[in-house]
Amino acid sequence: MFLVITNVIILLMFGGGIYYFLNAYSYVDFYKRLETRAGIAARYNLDQDELTADAYKKIREQHLEKLSEEKEYIIKINPQLSVGGISEESKLPAELLQEIIDKGKSTYKNGNTFYAGQTYPQGKANYIVVVSAENYYSSHHLSFLRNILIIGLLLTLLVTSFTAYYFSRYIFEPIRQITQKVKTISAENFHLRLEEEENNHEIKELKLTFNDLLNRLETAFETQKNFISNASHELGTPLTSIIGEADVSLIKNREPEEYQESLKSILKQAERLDEIIKSLIFLAQTGYEGKRIPFETIRVDDILWAVKTVIDKLNPDNKIHFDFSLLPDDPRKLKIQGNRQLLHLAFANLLNNACKYSYNKPVTVSIGSSNSEVVIIIRDNGVGIPEDEIPFIYDPFFRASNTKYFEGYGIGLPLTRNILRLHQGTLQVTSVINSGTTVQVTIPLSFPK
């Protein structure tokens, strides 16, 4: 509506301006024409030289078209006769005559008839020469123009209203769709997303942002939903180790040193349990209450070494090798902002998976660093993941069809991805079945160049 009103105002100003200025110009122009004609009329009527007078007449007839209702008045000024008298006699307006006598020349308009006159001295006598005519141009052309402008205005109004209506529909339709779609998304069907459009950039961005928001919400939601399962999975490993250690110690009577050793090991695992529990609580908190996880500056290689040390204890048969061939020269390029416990958990998951699903075949961990992020690549030679199942590996409890004989709950990878997301990192898994899996992790640097 606003658009239509603005348009009408602009058009009115534009059309009205054209009409007004053209109208004003047509007067000026017409008076000039009349003045020229008055001059010529004086010449051929009053010039004493007949030859010249004839020549003027000829030119006048040949080259100057006759105006509508054109009349010539040649009046000899008689000092005895008043202006009123002349006016009555010649039927010319008295004001015009008075002004001609006073100023030498003048113009006048009466209705649609225009007058232009001047004085013309001839010998001793003085004449007034007036030419009057109807302004055909003004009366016809301008009214034609006025009609065109009015019709144009109405047409434009119609077209603008139509297009404004159409465009508002076109622009608001996607937004209406978004509203409808969003209304259908609830806790039960959190996986639903808005379909991304190709051509409408702004709407596409809005949808992307919305989907992104939904992704984060879904992650937080799922983390919370699966908290118990996640916790039991993550707590299982150290608990098994504690139980195992205690079992072995209780088989027979041992020396005090051996008990001490066992207790130390149990304590270490219990501490680890404590760490994991704390980390999981952190994760749940970020998912729901929005509490900040404490981040610190950490070296990625430190964490990886720490993870390897733990795995070495739990699974001494592992063959994890570090590939430092692309380790950056500058140690600052290994420092990231992160939570030590969470990242420890994430990498432990990835490395454990790599060892587990490859029957402890060699696993290579490579580290490199660009100017903005650390890249960690974990490559195994294990059973791989069937190609059509790769899209589902981040779904909680999903397990690939070829992993029946391996222990696990399908929690590790979603949890790892959640942790990496919290660190603004990415996780990319590529796999070839029966050949191996490669996991690429990127985490932004603390001090990007």
């Binding site: 020269d329 490199g368 660093s369 903005s372 490559r379």
Partner: protein, 169 residues
Amino acid sequence: MHFITNAHFILMPKTILIPTNFKVSSLYTLKVALEDYKEKEVEIILLYADVLESSITELLFFSPRKRIEELMSDEFRTAIEIIKNRFEPNLTTLSIQLFQGKNQASFVNFLEAKCVDEIYTLSKPNLPAGTPCAKLHFFIDRATIPVKKVDHHNNDLLSEGDHLQSLFA
């Protein structure tokens, strides 16, 4: 005199040419080359064989820098940064150039102009025949300067995608 020549030779950074197709896997050669010359200063030229358009407008607005920007993927950029960060001290310069020559002579001229000392290339570049890149490999095979062929173990496996992991093979 002999001594001076030798000293000059030692101080000059070694210029190595590496053909690339703007795939991360092609940078594996770069990693091998830099590992081979860990103790020396090295100048690297990554060379991409390109076809020069014959249209007058294309030629008028042709800019090698823009063309290279266009060809580079994010992965490729990251891979180059990773390598630069690793070999920072001995990698003096790394430039990416386009080669639009059509015959062996133009390639020889290019090598001479850039003072290239050695070429590193994949032993099985796996390029479709008839492409400019394949042609470049043909020129490299006939080059008179030393050419080192590098084996890439996972070449077949990784040729499908262009992942950073092919750099770490």
